[in-house]
């Protein structure tokens, strides 16, 4: 409701041309004498015009698409996939009992898969060993394990660093008995510096250049935190806050965490 009691829905409908002629005329007469509704209408018009500006982006983007070619491109993806190639009618007839009776087909498939699973579980299977008698794992498998470890270690380092920086920037860190006053903050910083030494070679080996760069920036900051004594001041905190803001470290950490969580380490 506007201050004069008129419904705002009516104003929106008016701006969108949804009122009939009589209703629109009546509202226009009201607007002439009601500054509150005029102001509200102007506000709403501003919003709708703004939304229309975004609509222009949609139109511009549409002009860049080859709409003639797109149906064929999508059809190729749909029809040219092996599982979607249509079987000839004769073949369809041959498999008709399964096509027409999915439950029976499912049951048959279940029996076959069950038998196969039982065979795989109960058959006597020797350990997978290399020709020399040692246990064997492919280099690809080991590579994946190593990559996964590097990913997890880096994520853990990022999380712990974020927690520590966040705790440091809390006003409570300055209070007596707080994180820095009692020394636990410095201990956590020292432990993070140790951890960084451990993940350094992993980042190096996995060619995670971007991750390494960000972790190095964090390390410098943590180093500063570790050197701040129990008598830290507001200036110390402001200085660290400024460093975090200037380097956009928080944003970088968040983005890196997302990429790592999405298993995109290989592209870093």
């Amino acid at each position: 409701m506007t201050s004069c009691g008129r419904g705002k829905e009516e104003l929106v409908a008016y701006l969108l041309g949804e009122l009939d002629h009589e209703e629109a005329r009546s509202l226009e007469r009201h607007l002439e004498g009601c500054p509150a509704c005029r102001r509200e209408t102007a506000d709403l018009k501003c919003v709708l015009n703004g939304a229309a500006a975004v609509g222009n982006d949609v139109r511009r983007a549409m002009e860049t698409v080859d709409w003639e070619a797109l149906p064929e491109r999508i059809a190729r993806k749909v029809f040219d996939r092996p599982e979607n190639r249509t079987a000839p009618r004769g073949a369809r007839r041959l498999f008709a009992p399964f096509v027409l009776r999915p439950a029976a087909a499912g049951l048959a498939a279940g029996i076959v898969l069950g038998a196969l699973a039982a065979f795989l579980v109960f058959r006597p299977h020797p350990p997978h060993t290399a020709p020399g008698g040692d246990y064997y794992a492919s280099s690809e498998f080991l590579d994946r394990i190593e990559l996964e470890l590097a990913r997890r270690e880096t994520l853990s380092y990022l999380d712990r660093s974020q927690n520590l920086i966040q705790d440091f920037l809390q006003p409570a860190a300055l209070e007596s008995g707080g994180l820095w006053r009692e020394g636990s903050g410095q201990q956590r910083a020292a432990s993070l510096l140790q951890k960084k030494k451990y993940i350094n070679p992993q980042l190096e080996r996995r060619q995670m250049a971007k991750a390494k760069d960000i972790c190095n920036q964090i390390e410098l900051l943590i180093l500063e935190l570790a050197q701040i004594g129990p008598d830290l001041s507001d200036e110390d905190r402001a200085h660290i806050q400024e460093r975090v803001d200037d380097s956009r470290l928080w944003l970088k950490i968040n983005l890196l965490k997302e990429e790592l969580q999405d298993n995109e380490v290989a592209n870093l």
Binding site: V54, G55, V65, W67, L70, I74, F79, L255
Partner: protein
């Protein structure tokens, strides 16, 4: 390219669907050609970028083809396709929400180290547009969908109601809430009163 005319009535739509169910590639292409731009409009308004919108267009028609057997005869074909598109948009949006929020700030991991060299006015104009699309993306799912369908797809209230299977009154009410929320978000920037 002008959008091909969508199937005019339920019978035409049913026929088209039956042909697709029979594996008719041309029928499938005809349908994609008829609705691709509408799907794009919805998706672009959701994500604000061409690449994601194109992914949604492709995924929508692939999904539609998979589900073609579940199409109910006599149901609005356009409504069905746009429902699939909308659901995909919402899922994708939720899945990538955190990442989007970072991207909304206009940065990605690759470009954060490159300082922007825009002029102040260009940056301000860009910020305003970003703010608008960001505000639309921050609306609740149903408000956002209805606002987009109303303003970018140019659908009438009754059409939206039919497609989303809700009453015209609900469409109007959700649209109004969307406008109010946008106004609330944009007020400080545009200098309009709350």
């Amino acid at each position: 390219m002008e959008e091909r005319e969508p199937a005019r009535n339920a019978e035409e739509a049913d026929l088209l669907v039956r042909r697709i169910q029979d594996g008719d590639r041309e029928a499938f292409k005809e349908l994609v050609g008829a609705y691709q731009q509408r799907v794009f409009q919805i998706a672009f308004a959701f994500f604000g970028n061409r690449e994601d919108a194109m992914d949604i267009v492709q995924e929508t028609f692939m999904r539609m083809h998979q589900k073609i057997g579940s199409y109910r005869k006599g149901y609005s074909l356009q409504g069905w396709i746009l429902q699939i598109a909308k659901n995909l948009c919402v899922d994708y949006f939720r899945k990538h929400y955190r990442r989007r929020r970072e991207h909304e700030a206009g940065v990605s991991l690759d470009d954060i180290q490159v300082p922007a060299e825009e002029s102040v006015s260009a940056r301000r104009a860009g910020e305003l547009k970003d703010l608008l699309s960001r505000s639309i993306r921050l609306l609740a799912d149903r408000q956002r969908t209805i606002f987009i369908m109303r303003h970018y797809n140019q659908f009438q209230v009754e059409e939206i109601a039919r497609m989303l299977n809700i009453s015209p009154g609900t469409v109007k009410s959700l649209h109004f809430k969307a406008v109010q929320n946008l106004k609330g978000r944009l007020s400080p920037y545009l200098g309009v009163s709350r």
